[in-house]
C-alpha cells in the first residue's frame, strides 16, 4: 500500500518539515503517540511507553529549534529503543521476570545518551524475545509482538517491537541489537531496513548481553538513509566497552546521489541450501537485476566454510549466554520462559575446548573472507529464505538447525563481525521479503550507498502494511 499517512514517512522528511516550520516536534510526537494508542494493542510494539518523557523531550527539541539550536537530523524525531537497552526514563526488562530492575534503573546506555544529546525523542521501550534469545511466550506478562503485514504472523526477533513499530508508523526509527540476526530478521519480516554495524563500531555497554563476542547495537528505520542518520549519532568509541573500536567514524556524507557504478557485488548461488527455491528467490533475482542496471558488476562467489560459520554462532552464543545466566537458571528456573531456559541450558553442553575451537575456526573464516572482499565490495543474498511464519505453526523449540531458511543467511555473517544490512526487496504472498548486503569491516558507508541507490530505484521501502492505515 503506497498510502499517504498523516505522519512523515522518514526521518529526513520529518526533519525537513521541522526545519521549515511545517510541524513541531510536539505535534509530531503527539501524532505518533496517537497512532500507538490505536495500533500498539494490535501489534505488541511496546513493553513500556514513555509518553510523558517523550513529550518533555519534544518540547525541549522545539525550544532548541526556536532558539536556533540545531543538534542534527535526529532533533525532535520520535524513536523506539529495544527493551534490553538501558534508558533512564523507564524500566529495562529484557522482556523477562529475571532481570533485576535495579540493574539499569535511572541510567542511560551510551547509545541512548547519544540519541538524547542529539535531541531525539524516545517514545518507548520496545518488545523483544526474552533476553533477546527466547521465543514468543504467551505465558509471561509481556506483550506478544505481531507482524503488521499480517497480525497472525511472527514479526521476527529479537528486535521485534522496534521493527514492527517502524513498519506500522508508530515511530520513525530506533535501536535494536543483533547477535545472530536480531536486527536483520525482524527488519526483513516487517519490510523495513536494518543495519548490523561492524562489531565494535557502536558501544554495547548498557545493553543486556546475550553473546559477548557477537552482540551488536544498530539502527532500524524505513530507509538506508535513515539508518545512516541514526548510526551517525550512535557510532564511535566509548571507553566503557572493552570491545569498542577506536577507529574514527567521521561524519556520514549525504547519500542523495549515491553512485554504485562499478561496485562489485558477489552472489553465492549455492549457500544456504534451498536459496534457489525459497519465498525470496524470485524477488532476489529481480533485486540483482536492479543492482546490475544501476551499474554494479555481479560476481559469482562461493562463501567459505558456510556450515561451519553458522555453527559457530550456536556454540559461541550458547556458551557466552550460559556464563551470564547460569546462576539464575539454577535458582529461578520457572521464572524464565519455557523456551528460553532450555535454549540457555544448551550452553552447559559445550566444553571449553569446543568454545575455543569455534573461535579458532572463526578466525580461519575471517581470513578467508578478507580474500573474498578482495574480489568483491559487497555480498548479496536474501536475508531470509522464508516469509514470516504464522504464530499457529510457530515452533517454540528454537532449534539449532537453521534449515527453515529464516536465520541461515544471517547467521553466517554474525561471527564475522562484518557490517550487514537488510532492506526490503519485494513481497511474496503479500508479505515482505528482504535483500541482505554484507561488506568488509568498517565499510558501513559502502552498504548505505548501495542500499540508498537500490531504494531510489525501487519503492519497496515506501510500502505501508494495511494496518498502518487504521489510525
Amino acid at each position: 500500500v503506497l498510502a499517504v499517512l498523516a505522519v512523515p514517512q522518514s526521518i529526513s522528511e520529518a526533519g525537513a518539515q521541522l526545519r521549515q516550520g511545517k510541524t513541531s516536534s510536539v505535534a509530531l510526537t503527539r501524532a505518533f503517540l496517537s497512532r500507538a494508542e490505536t495500533l500498539d494493542p494490535l501489534l505488541g510494539t511496546f513493553v513500556t511507553r514513555l509518553d510523558e518523557t517523550a513529550m518533555a523531550q519534544a518540547e525541549r527539541a522545539d525550544a532548541d529549534f526556536s532558539q536556533g539550536i540545531d543538534k542534527g537530523p535526529l532533533q525532535g524525531i520520535p524513536l523506539g529503543v529495544k527493551d534490553i537497552i538501558a534508558d533512564s526514563d523507564g524500566p529495562t526488562t529484557a522482556q523477562s521476570l529475571i532481570l533485576d530492575r535495579l540493574w539499569a534503573a535511572d541510567k542511560d546506555a551510551p547509545v541512548v545518551r547519544r540519541l538524547k544529546r542529539a535531541g531525539a525523542v524516545i517514545v518507548g521501550k520496545t518488545t523483544t524475545m526474552e533476553f533477546a534469545h527466547g521465543a514468543p511466550d504467551g505465558t509471561k506478562p509481556f506483550p506478544l509482538p505481531r507482524n503488521p503485514w499480517d497480525v497472525s504472523r511472527y514479526p521476527g526477533g529479537s528486535s521485534s517491537g522496534t521493527a514492527n513499530g517502524i513498519a506500522a508508523g508508530l515511530f520513525l526509527g530506533g535501536l535494536g541489537t543483533d547477535t545472530g540476526g536480531s536486527i536483520r530478521g525482524p527488519s526483513a519480516l516487517c519490510g523495513i531496513t536494518g543495519l548490523k554495524p561492524t562489531f565494535g563500531r557502536v558501544p554495547k555497554t548498557g545493553c543486556v548481553p546475550l553473546g559477548f563476542s557477537l552482540d551488536h547495537v544498530g539502527p532500524l528505520a524505513r530507509s538506508a538513509e535513515d539508518c545512516g542518520l541514526i548510526l551517525n549519532v550512535i557510532a564511535g568509541y566509548h571507553p566503557s566497552d572493552p570491545q569498542c573500536s577506536k577507529r574514527e567514524w567521521g561524519q556520514l556524507p549525504p547519500l542523495s546521489h549515491a553512485d554504485i557504478g562499478g561496485l562489485r557485488i558477489g552472489v553465492d548461488r549455492v549457500h544456504p541450501e534451498g536459496i534457489q527455491s525459497g519465498d525470496s528467490a524470485e524477488a532476489f533475482g529481480l533485486a540483482l537485476d536492479v543492482l546490475a542496471a544501476l551499474g554494479a558488476e555481479l560476481v559469482e562467489v562461493e562463501l567459505p566454510l558456510y556450515q561451519e560459520m553458522v555453527s559457530i554462532v550456536a556454540v559461541t552464543r550458547f556458551a557466552e549466554a550460559y556464563a551470564y545466566h547460569r546462576g539464575d537458571l539454577q535458582s529461578r528456573w520457572t521464572d524464565y520462559g519455557a523456551t528460553t531456559r532450555v535454549n540457555l541450558s544448551r550452553g552447559a553442553l559445550i566444553s571449553s575446548s569446543e568454545y575455543v575451537q569455534a573461535q579458532r575456526v572463526r578466525r580461519v573464516v575471517q581470513r578467508k573472507l578478507v580474500e573474498v572482499f578482495g574480489r568483491v565490495d559487497i555480498m548479496a543474498s536474501p536475508t531470509t529464505g522464508a516469509i514470516a511464519e504464522p504464530y499457529l505453526s510457530f515452533d517454540d523449540e528454537f532449534t539449532l538447525s537453521p534449515e527453515g531458511g529464516q536465520f541461515s543467511n544471517m547467521g553466517y555473517w554474525s561471527p564475522s563481525g562484518f557490517p550487514v544490512m537488510a532492506l526490503p526487496m519485494g513481497l511474496a504472498e503479500d508479505m515482505p521479503v528482504s535483500l541482505q548486503l554484507a561488506s568488509s569491516p568498517f565499510s558501513e558507508l559502502t552498504l548505505l550507498k548501495a542500499g540508498h541507490a537500490f531504494q531510489q530505484a525501487t519503492q519497496w521501502h515506501r510500502l505501508w502494511p494495511p494496518v498502518a492505515e487504521l489510525n
Binding site: S213, S240, Q330, S345, I350, Q359, R363, T399
Partner: protein
C-alpha cells in the same frame, strides 16, 4: 545441521541421555523430563557441530578470535562524563 560425515554419534540415545542428565546435575540445572528430551537432541547436534569444527584443517595452527587487553580501562557506562570518546 547435519553431523559431519566423520562423526560417530554416542553409541545410543540412552548414552546421550545419561551424559546430559549428568551435566545438568553437575550444573544444578533443574530440568524437567520433556526439557531433558530437548537437551538430549541438542547434545547430539552439538557433538556433530563439534566434530565439524575440529575437522577444519586450516584451524590446526590458528589462534582463537579471543580478545585480551592487559591494560584495560574500567569506565562505568552510565557516567555521562566518561563519554569522552567522540
Amino acid at each position: 545441521l547435519l553431523p559431519h560425515p566423520n562423526y560417530s554419534s554416542p553409541s545410543s540415545q540412552a548414552d546421550a541421555r545419561l551424559i546430559v542428565t549428568h551435566l545438568m546435575e553437575r550444573e544444578r540445572i533443574p530440568v524437567g523430563p520433556s526439557e531433558l528430551d530437548r537437551l538430549v537432541v541438542a547434545y547430539i547436534e552439538l557433538r556433530g557441530i563439534s566434530e565439524m569444527l575440529f575437522a577444519v584443517a586450516e584451524a590446526r595452527y590458528e589462534s582463537p578470535a579471543l580478545f585480551f587487553d592487559p591494560a584495560p580501562q574500567f569506565d562505568d557506562w552510565w557516567i555521562g562524563e566518561s563519554d569522552n570518546g567522540r
